[in-house]
Amino acid sequence: MKRSLLGRIWPNAAALVLALGFVFPVYWMFTTAFKPNGDIITEDPVWFPLNGTFEHFSTAVNAPNFWSLVGNSVTVTVLAVGLSLLIALCGSFAVARMRFKGRKGIILTFMVAQMAPWEVLVISIYMIVRDADMLNSLVPLTFFYMLMVLPFTLLTLRGYVAAVPKELEESAMVDGCTRTQAFVKIIFPLLAPGLMATSLFGFITAWNEFPLVLVLNKEPDKGTLPLWLSQFQSQFGDDWGATMAAASIFALPILVLFLFLQRKAVGGLTAGAVKG
């Protein structure tokens, strides 16, 4: 179909404007982080960090407890996502591949669990963790984060497991594999993209979590990076350079991970959404 010149120009123009609009806050975060204070506190914005400096990054990195909180964040996120993948993989296999009594109820349970308003459950979680004498510990955080991503992981993996043709598994079993062997050798490799996509979302959730850690881990070196960032900001007040450097450090790992894995993530989620 032929389109007029105007018809070809406007979508591109619109796309360019949108792309700039979307990326600007991210750009502004990184560039502010590199600007000397004189270029930040000005009546007219400086659009490019021509006099770049690492001073704000060193302020952020040398802030009290930074490294221990990085360690905490990485530990909690990796453990929570790893555990939930393991548990969800077992569960999704059962739900996608087997018929059994109560299956529907179990699926519904996970759907509702996924709606869990963690933000409003902080009070009761605080009580439980306090009574167990585990405030300021990474253990409860890890387990709660695991459960925050578990229903999503399980339900999404269920789609991926179901999408693997049953015949592959059956022929492996005809060839003498047990069900477990068939799973490990045949299905698991085919699930790799699904595991990557779901773990990506798990990573973001756990990396980002704020209300729970805000209430449970109050000691300065026992929290995670979101807490550090929010406190850093109130502590450094109007030092926007340092604050933006801190935000950049916090955001960078996820931005990089996402750019690497996005193709899989986007395609994977929709595969499920459309084949109604």
Binding site: V23, F152, I204, V266, V274
Partner: protein, 327 residues
């Protein structure tokens, strides 16, 4: 939480399940051992859900019937109040005001997100390869921005004195905005929060809508064009019906996500000024954790769950029905 969001289309992902499900007659292993296998596989997931979600829910229910403030907490006293917390909350004005505000806030955001998200998704489908890549990368970077980092950046963008937004508005001739304090009034604070939330949510809807449109058979479009359908007609007669499950699942997720939005509102102005931008989750948090009225906070959070269930009941019923059809 943003993810939670992205908690994405998982709801619908299960639906592919039906393709993989064997007809009952073909199932393997009718023996007892095979009969137990699914339960064994599900035990860890169910146990974890019961302990880390079920228990807090039950605890929350119990708390909501107690009079628990700082004093009782320190002295480990248990004082029961029956339905006292609930009648206080439901009898007062604040809860209803916050509920209406939350529903309006969620509605406005979800409508904006779905409309703009679909438009951008359709635009992606129309673009050439290069421009599509440019826009996609921009969207992915936005999508990946952690909520707390994004919130911090928005505070800087909307900073009264050196924020770039005020500078632009001033240059555009709106001089009264030169040093405008965005978090000084209810509407302007909500405006900043809405821009932030919509900005964060659009990539998910747009990218997934675009990916979804690629699965629509080309013939459908050609047939519609041959019948002389215009852009709008093609959308309503081909795209929308074909992607209906996608629209339902995404709208449902966005409702949950916007409704539960916590760090954005909390970090921008802690529900201020004067508690005028508190939504239900913030209200429950402020009453419970901030003001140390734990029993009251628990009761509010329970009512919050009820409101959220009410807003999503339609979708839940629909999915449940679908599962029934499949079983």
């Amino acid at each position: 939480m943003s993810v939670q969001i992205e908690d994405a289309v998982q709801n619908s992902a299960p639906r592919i399940g039906k393709g993989g499900a064997p007809p009952p007659g073909r199932r393997r292993g009718t023996g007892r051992a095979a009969g137990k296998a699914p339960y064994l596989l599900l035990i860890p997931a169910l146990a974890a859900t019961a302990v880390f979600l079920g228990w807090p829910m039950v605890r929350n229910l119990i708390l909501s019937f107690q009079n628990l403030n700082m004093k009782q907490l320190i002295q480990h006293l248990t004082e029961w109040r029956g339905f006292g917390n609930y009648s206080d909350i439901l009898g007062g004005e604040q809860f209803w005001r916050v509920t209406v505000r939350t529903i309006v806030f969620t509605g406005v955001n979800v409508v904006l997100i779905m409309t703009l998200g679909v438009l951008i998704g359709l635009l992606l489908a129309r673009l050439g390869k290069k421009m599509r890549l440019v826009l996609s990368v921009a969207l992915v970077l936005t999508w990946a921005m952690p909520v707390i980092a994004a919130t911090t950046v928005f505070q800087w963008l909307f900073d009264a004195r050196y924020g770039v937004v005020n500078w632009v508005l001033d240059k555009l001739g709106w001089h009264s905005m030169a040093h405008y304090d965005w978090v000084g009034s209810q509407l302007s604070t909500f405006f900043v929060i809405t821009v932030l939330i919509v900005w964060q949510s659009l990539p998910f809807v747009a990218l997934n809508l675009y990916a979804a449109t690629t699965t629509i058979p080309k013939e459908l479009y050609e047939a519609a064009r041959m019948d002389g359908a215009g852009t709008w007609k093609v959308f309503t007669s081909v795209t929308f019906p074909f992607l209906k499950p996608f629209f339902l699942a995404t709208t449902f997720l966005e409702i949950i996500w916007v409704f539960k939005a916590f760090p954005q509102i909390f970090a921008i102005n802690e529900g201020g000024p004067d508690r005028l931008t508190e939504t239900l989750p913030i209200y429950a948090f402020t009453e419970g954790v901030g003001n140390l009225h734990f029993g009251m906070g628990a009761a509010i959070s329970l009512l919050t769950i009820v409101v959220l269930l009410g807003m999503t009941a339609y979708y839940l019923r629909l999915t449940l029905k679908q599962e029934e059809d499949e079983a």
